[in-house]
Symmetry: C2
């Protein structure tokens, strides 16, 4: 069993005291232990603020972009090893592991390339200049300038590689040192990434601090130029929103919380149509990929009432072919959930939905499951579960209770307006997908659902086999939805950099203002 | 004594129970009473959400822009009456009153014109489209779509007209109904504006709700599509940040808090230079305008050490000419502060700073003051007060304690880097002004201070007499600073609309996405 260590001031230091144990969720075999007890958080922060910040600020977008490209290449060179760790510690199938690791590499690469396009400057112009008064002498330019603090990243357990890299890529590109905390249960993969980067010596000193465990008093030490970016549960998000650092010290907080993402099969989604096939493929992928543990996964599936039974039959058939077990066995197509806590939470969540009047289990369920190629009685296996709720107005539980596992509910609707109003009841989502080639339906749904979403995925026949599905997060596209989803904004290319920058209007005599930062990149 | 009434569902309703009394702060004469006790907040909210939202959404940017222009014209037609109310209830000089009311009209007009430029659509495109994957088939557009909730506005006492109108203009342009709460003490002016708009019947039903008093359970009723925009003290901001509506219900909160804005005289600001004159004029204006009760007012004044005494002498001279009293008397150049509470807070704030070792009073002070043309012993008059802190490293009180009145502290610096580091100690400001024509100094200061500010004002000789000073907020320029200033974003033309909209990435087959909203305006 290895010991994960914190990475502070370019040294790996083991924490003392009680250790948290990381296991293989398919076998419950202990893999590693970790603790951040005794780590000098104050020193870690000081090192990031001084050494790290100075080094990153001495660079520009282009050179920091090169750094990101190199960081991505390092992961690519060790891709097989990293996949192995994700299978072991994450319960990932090889496909799940690639999704996480390739997502991490793609995001580093995309932001690396963006940095090179932005060029040898440290600042962005925000849109056109403005003339604030009648006098043409006075002029204003809006600039985005990098904040002078550190970026503290609290990541979720489901994407140890992607989560680390997508947050770090954007903060580094802006010139902020990163303090990254992985979820403990799956930290082995993130730890190895940090080791690889440290060995490659590609990051400037102080650019990265890694704390695989509790954050101690770190948040108490943050101030008004720092950024806290969190991905995880709504419950933890609430604690952070109320935290003194955010309420009183002016730390900027971004939240990406799970949400009740929907998929809607349009009125033209006849059985056997291309659009219906795409819909079925995407729904099945989202149910089983990462054992449903994606913040973007489809939780609510809306289909025209007259096609409910056909879709139900088709999905049930396809789910019957899913083989749950230890992903080290080649037959397995869906791994376990990440932890015992998740197992219990998912099973009680299924039971809770199934007990709601009007909701019934069409496939799967909360009963215990023995995984293929897992030791008897071991492993956090859950049945991929499809529920059905035939009276869409009746069961608000599907709009309120998220089960973070391979679980979704099928719901009929009669008209576009009804589908829109049902999806809205989820209170804000990261992404919803529409499967239709009916222009009228698509534009009504985009306008009706857009204000409740950070992203909408339009699945049409013309996409053919090239659809990544709604659950894939892209560096170039906004990630983060309103309300329940946390009201955060990440990624979206240059848009995601705003979290780490300050928008400042600079006004004065027009030639002075215009001549001020001739090299600033156009942010938009 | 008139009774202010709430404006709910196109009716004016008087509240019951104990009444708050509004006075003339120069004479303490009671002017009006108000209460929102017994107002049906649930009904008010429902009316806004249904009738108001439907009417505003049926319009587009251009037609809502026309509405804003008409709302501005209504104020212009009653400008003299409104000025009279501001003098009476706000303790404003006529100049102060015009600043507030003309600011209100200018903002309505600017957003009205912006609406007409944006045209007959309801949506904005956010920057260029993005290709998220290698396949050129898949395409993403970022749209800003109006949120489907209401905008609740909590305004500060210092700008009853401007505060109401600047917040309402942006929300209405986006299509959100407004529920506006003025600060009680100075609500007479805002109330009269609402009456004028109601008489003119220019707003669609439900577009405006006005609540001149406590908000009762209103915030408890808000949800994830609603926006809460607050201007006022950091203490109230903290309460709102911790409010269940924000922490749990997903209400989007924007905070504009007061801050310790600075002015820096550059190394080239020799005595008698144009840039030094501009600096002295702006500092004096900010000290006395609105009796220093502007969230953007200069609180900390930095000058090259060798010019400290000359500047001190000049400012002290100019301050000696300020005549404080009842602004209905033509001799008066500075009115009282707004309330007895403010009077006490400003006087104790001055005393606190003056008692700090290293800080001394150069002009004014905390002693009681009889106002010109005010009844004996009445009126909330404060001496315009200049403090001096000769050891800039010694007295952190000037960076921590804001006195919201005619009070500022003069501080020497030796080099640009020191001035930057001193200003930064304020922890985030709405605006700081630089008085210099030295390009190197200006660009160093812009880069060093930009991350700590929402706006920087460059006062150079070339601006000549056309400088509005740093304290004027413009519709076209960002308003809101990081950290202590609340980390909000308002105004800035189209940028300010983002608070009331949701950024949503729409992705799919390229021609479908591109053809989706052909009329959407370019947001940037």
């Amino acid at each position: 069993m290895i010991t994960l260590r914190s990475y502070v001031a370019e040294e790996f230091v083991a924490g003392g005291g009680a250790q948290a144990v990381l296991v293989n969720p398919a076998t419950e075999e202990p893999l590693a232990q970790t603790s951040t007890h005794g780590v000098d958080f104050e020193r870690a922060l000081r090192h990031a603020r001084t050494t790290g910040a100075a080094a990153l600020r001495a660079m520009n977008f282009a050179s920091r972009g090169s750094l990101l490209l190199a960081a991505g290449k390092t992961l690519h060179a060790h891709r097989d090893e990293l996949i192995g760790l994700a299978v072991h510690n994450g319960g990932n199938t090889r496909g799940d592991a690639k999704f996480d690791i390739d997502g991490a590499i793609a995001t580093l690469t995309a932001y690396g390339e963006l940095g090179q396009r932005l060029g040898e400057t440290n600042h962005l112009r925000d849109g056109e200049g403005e003339q604030p008064m009648r006098s043409a002498k006075l002029w204003g330019e809006h600039l985005w300038l990098p904040r002078c603090g550190v970026a503290v990243h609290i990541n979720a357990f489901n994407f140890p590689a992607w989560g680390l890299c997508e947050k770090a890529a954007v903060a580094w590109l802006c010139g902020l040192p990163v303090i990254s905390k992985p979820a403990t249960s799956s930290a082995l993969l993130a730890y190895r990434i940090v080791e690889l980067w440290a060995q490659a010596q590609l990051l400037p000193a102080g650019a990265l601090t890694f704390l695989p465990g509790a954050l101690g008093n770190l948040l108490e030490l943050l101030g008004e130029q720092d950024v806290l970016a969190f991905t995880g549960s709504s419950d933890t998000a609430r604690l952070l929103r109320r935290h003194r650092a955010v309420v009183e010290a002016g730390v900027r907080l971004n939240v990406e919380a799970d949400s009740l993402n929907a998929a809607i099969l349009g009125p033209d989604g006849e059985e056997g149509s291309e659009v219906c096939d795409l819909f079925l493929t995407d729904v099945l992928r989202d149910l089983t990929q990462k054992a449903g543990q994606k913040c973007t996964a489809i939780r609510r599936i809306y289909v025209p009432a007259e096609r409910l039974d056909a879709v139900l039959a088709e999905l049930t058939d396809r789910l019957a072919a899913v083989r749950v077990g230890n992903p080290q066995d080649e037959r397995v197509t869906m791994g376990p959930v990440a932890t015992r806590t998740q197992l219990e939470s998912v099973r009680s969540g299924i039971a809770r939905l199934a007990q709601t009047p009007g909701i019934s289990v069409a496939a799967g369920g909360a009963e215990p499951l023995a995984g293929i190629a897992a030791p008897e009685g071991r492993g956090y296996f859950v049945r991929p579960t499809l529920l059905v709720c035939r009276d869409p107005q009746g069961a608000s539980a599907v709009d309120e209770h998220e089960v973070f596992g391979p679980v979704a509910t099928l719901i009929p609707y009669s008209q576009a307006a009804e589908a829109i109003s049902l999806v809205r009841r989820g209170g804000g989502c990261l992404v919803t997908s529409l499967y239709s080639d009916d222009r009228g339906f698509v534009s009504e749904a985009v306008l009706g659902l857009g204000p409740y979403h950070g992203r909408l995925f339009l699945g049409g026949a013309k996409l053919g086999g090239q659809s990544p599905g709604p659950g894939t997060v892209f560096a170039a596209l906004n990630h983060g939805g309103p309300g329940r989803a946390g009201d955060g904004h990440e990624l979206g290319g240059v848009r995601g950099m705003q979290l780490y920058m300050q928008r400042c209007a600079v006004m004065g005599y027009k030639p002075t203002v215009e001549g001020l930062l001739p090299g600033a990149a156009r942010g938009r």
